[in-house]
Symmetry: C2
Subunit: 418 residues, 2 copies
């Protein structure tokens, strides 16, 4: 009995420390750099991807498509067959983004030549990374036009934005995110205000380092891609949750990520182990001509936003997103409150005016998930299950229970509770 | 009995036409021009102001202060005493903005040399005007620093923005407003998303006509003045409500405006007559050091936003504004629904995600106001009652019943119903 009180106290303390570190975390966007120049373990033949680790044979269609598209971008292959041949010969080394402090939307594929965002947490000096967001390769398309989207980012937009970000000496992200949450964003599927705010904040720096034509090109890109800020939001959320990782006894979830086959989590007090389960299907709205039979299960590292207390955890503040994902405003508010049942705090930084400026539910606790049977809600886009099928809709998905169960069992073993 | 049915049918038809014209109205921002070059009745010694017509002796403190500040800007006086002397000698001709198709925030003072926004309604070719928004002279301040705000607008910002607007061939405003309403604006006291959207939309045109330094100056101004879009929103709302004005038998309110002493309305079927009552006090939040005893009654033409179905009529979609004006999210939603009791339609263009994308209550009907005793709700800023006292807070105010009662009596006389 004494021991049990002991462990409860230790968990409580550990989780308090973890939440305090999330609160103090101060992610700053400091650069955009080629993956090979900034990711220490990125080799010439590396391909990093969203979700927990997985081998080619078990990968879903959109992840395979995104890998092939990225290999074509890298010049490692020119066709699907080329690419698959090289992979089957062991010519490509796959790895999970999160195992390198990186995140990527949907398939989230990062390759050596791809420029990625660099975010430094000023509270602890740690750095993390995010792949940019687009609506083709990350959904599994690998045709020429899709690959050109990666080229345009690499050769033009990332170069100009990178110069401006370096000129800025760093963009402080939490204040932008807090403002965007008051402007109808949930900063996962809807980062429209975030993108506008970022455009406005980066503009003077762009003007300082680029020609007017280049400024026009970058700002046109931002205003035509109002999803852009998602990658910044993801990088910031990775920094925030990373700050809470590695605290002995803490039962807080610090990673939730999906590779389109499996849903994986990491837990603060459980080191770098992944706990996985089968990825769920998404309920939502399809673009014309598509239906549930076309959809791949849940995919992407973007659930890092929910892990940090935004995304679907902030749905009440973002009712406009319901036009994209379906459901009613009442559902959105209900989900926002429901997440309090599986978390340990209300966010100090991320507040929602529609619930009278209360903070979003933050700090998912594996014990609470298992006690209630309620799993985190995530809003997300949908990819076609076949490689090349692309973006087909958006909706809401619940995390599977299995990863939390596996984590709790591992926790028991680790801390000798069983 | 037959006659009564006859008139009811005629009113219904007239109001249907009025609402259809509001729906079809398409306000385009086409220029910024000096008032004397665009307002036909603006003379060298004219001063136009917010609200219904009023003479100097009955004017409130902030309106007087704004007039004196503007006279100093015009070079008509150098001190308060100078200005008052000239006014008492009959040297200044006062007139109501709305009587010249213009609107201005708070005191709303427009003088010959002040550059004003020009909005053209593409549905009917009619033009209307708005004074820019700032936080000093329009609140009654007339010191040197305040007057310099008018100078900076006149000499720098309006010149550069005007060039860009002309270069753009016109900025279509309803789409921006509809988007801003989905981003937490109500487009009266909170036009933050509107300002960001406008900045993003005007930027390529600015880059086409200005030096990088000038672009930096204008965009810095916009990003530091997130209230800026209010004047664009007001001009658009003036165009929308003007489209519904002058329809025989229509009982719709097409103007609500306050001069800080009186609250005045105009009604579509009642020509250009004003119907006035005493302006109410505002309930809200004060900046530190101020309280109800400092506040002036309700002032400004900005209630044109509520007249067009936004502002406090869209409060449910803008809960973030409650930090400025007070109240709860529940109040905001209640007001949004309550306004349906005194209006004739739900807006097709202006919708609110939080009430499942239903339109805002639009088309205030003087009969419904009198039948229910419910008057329009308006969210607004507060000016100190003494000239020079400035901006002291913000809150909500209800229109007085008297103007609606006076209008209904006039309607009875005009259409021989009594």
């Amino acid at each position: 009995m004494k021991d049990e009180i002991g462990i409860k106290e230790r968990i409580k303390e550990a989780n308090t420390v973890a939440l305090e570190r999330m609160r103090l975390s101060r992610p700053i966007l400091i650069d955009i750099k080629c993956a090979k120049d900034i990711l220490p373990q990125m080799k010439k033949n590396s391909i990093f991807h969203a979700g927990p680790p997985i081998d080619w044979e078990r990968m879903c269609g959109p992840l395979r498509g995104a890998i092939v598209g990225t290999m074509i971008f890298e010049g490692l292959a020119t066709t699907w067959n080329d690419a698959v041949k090289l992979i089957r010969q062991g010519g490509v080394e796959f790895s999970s983004n999160h195992d390198h402090e990186a995140v990527g939307p949907m398939a989230g594929v990062i390759s050596p030549s791809l420029p990625i965002l660099v975010v430094k947490d000023q509270s602890n000096g740690k750095v993390c990374f995010a792949r940019f967001v687009e609506n083709r390769v990350q959904f599994g398309q690998f045709d020429k036009e899709s690959v050109n989207v990666l080229r345009f980012w690499s050769e033009r937009i990332s170069q100009l934005l990178g110069k401006a970000i370096r000129k800025s000496k760093g963009i402080d992200l939490k204040p932008i995110m807090a403002r965007a949450l008051h402007m109808g964003d949930e900063l996962h599927n809807r980062p429209a205000a975030g993108t506008l705010l970022f455009e406005s904040i980066i503009l003077p720096h762009l003007l300082g380092v680029c020609s007017p034509n280049d400024v026009r090109e970058v700002t046109k890109y931002l205003s035509e891609n109002d999803i852009f800020f998602l990658c910044i939001s993801m990088a910031a959320c990775k920094a925030i949750t990373k700050a809470a990782h590695g605290i002995k006894y803490s039962t807080l979830v610090t990673v939730m990520a999906r590779n389109g086959t499996n849903f994986g989590i990491k837990v603060s007090g459980l080191g770098n182990d992944w706990f996985v389960g089968k990825a769920n299907m998404i309920e939502g709205l399809y673009f014309p001509g598509y239906g549930p039979e076309d959809a791949n299960p849940d995919i992407g590292d973007s659930a890092i936003t929910e892990t940090a207390g935004i995304g679907a955890f902030a749905l009440a503040g973002s009712p406009a997103i319901l036009a994209l994902i379906g459901g009613t405003a009442e559902d959105a508010i209900r989900y926002t409150y429901e997440m309090r049942k599986i978390t340990n705090s209300l966010n100090d930084t991320f507040t929602l005016p529609i619930i009278n400026f209360q903070g979003t539910a933050t700090g998912i606790d594996i014990r609470k998930v298992m006690r209630t049977g309620i799993t985190p809600v995530i809003d997300t886009a949908m990819a076609h299950k076949q490689a090349g099928g692309g973006y087909i809709g958006a909706g809401l998905v619940k995390a599977p229970l299995e990863p939390f169960k596996n984590a709790l069992h591992a926790y028991g073993r680790r801390y000798k509770l069983v």
